[in-house]
Amino acid sequence: MVNKKQSNTIIGKYMPYYYAGASLDFNLIHIDQDYAKANGLPGIILQGMCTMALTAKHLIDNGNPAQLRSIKVRFLNPVLPEDELVFDSVTKGPEVSVIVKNKNDGRVLKGKATLK
């Protein structure tokens, strides 16, 4: 049986700061606009691990977290504050494939997961 699911999330303007506080990932590309721009980025970017965490949230969907057995993601493009992300997953048996798109600007993450 094939199951498809979609959800949307708007990345808050200050989310990279909040995630930095929670994760202690204070890499300056996430919190300092000047530093990010000097390193070839359009501005501060969201931590990839945060995009991954939001992907896992989409998959677990308020259920028992122990159902998620594995997750593997590739980070394709940076996520910026105020971006709107669209999470699309397709589940066949225990195997899930997931794509996260930025509403304005193509894919930001692709991955696979297993659910029990």
Binding site: M15, G48, C50, L54, K57, I60, S70, K72, R74
Partner: protein, 149 residues
Amino acid sequence: MSGDNIIRREYESDYEVSYEKVKEYVRVLDDNNPYYTDREFVKSLDGGHPFAPPTFAAIYCQPALEHLYFDPEFSKLVPRLVHGEQEYHFHEPVRAGDIIHTNAVIDKHYTKTNQAGTVHQIFEIKTTSSNQDNKLVCTGLYTLLIRGE
């Protein structure tokens, strides 16, 4: 090549998972799953403590990885570091009150040349995390890319 001399280097850390920290983490994600936030609900399931989200692995593995980032041989590469891929396999669930021991080892180091001819370095870091009962909770594979100049 710079980087080859740190291959197989290992880093260790212990991390105590607290309910308050889990609540902070899920608040950032706007994740209201009762398995993480509702102590009474979880107690009614099996009498145990609230769960940590699976991706909380990023938090309890971080102290071991920080030892890597501050390794003098590696720290000079950090300004050009990009997180390329991430993989986790989950075993025993992690719950508030657990003490997680993590070992991180630099498993592979190689280069990749993109279409523009820029040579990027890739480091693959393997993590193994176990709880206070010596049960495996998570294995991870961090693929870190150091952008070429």
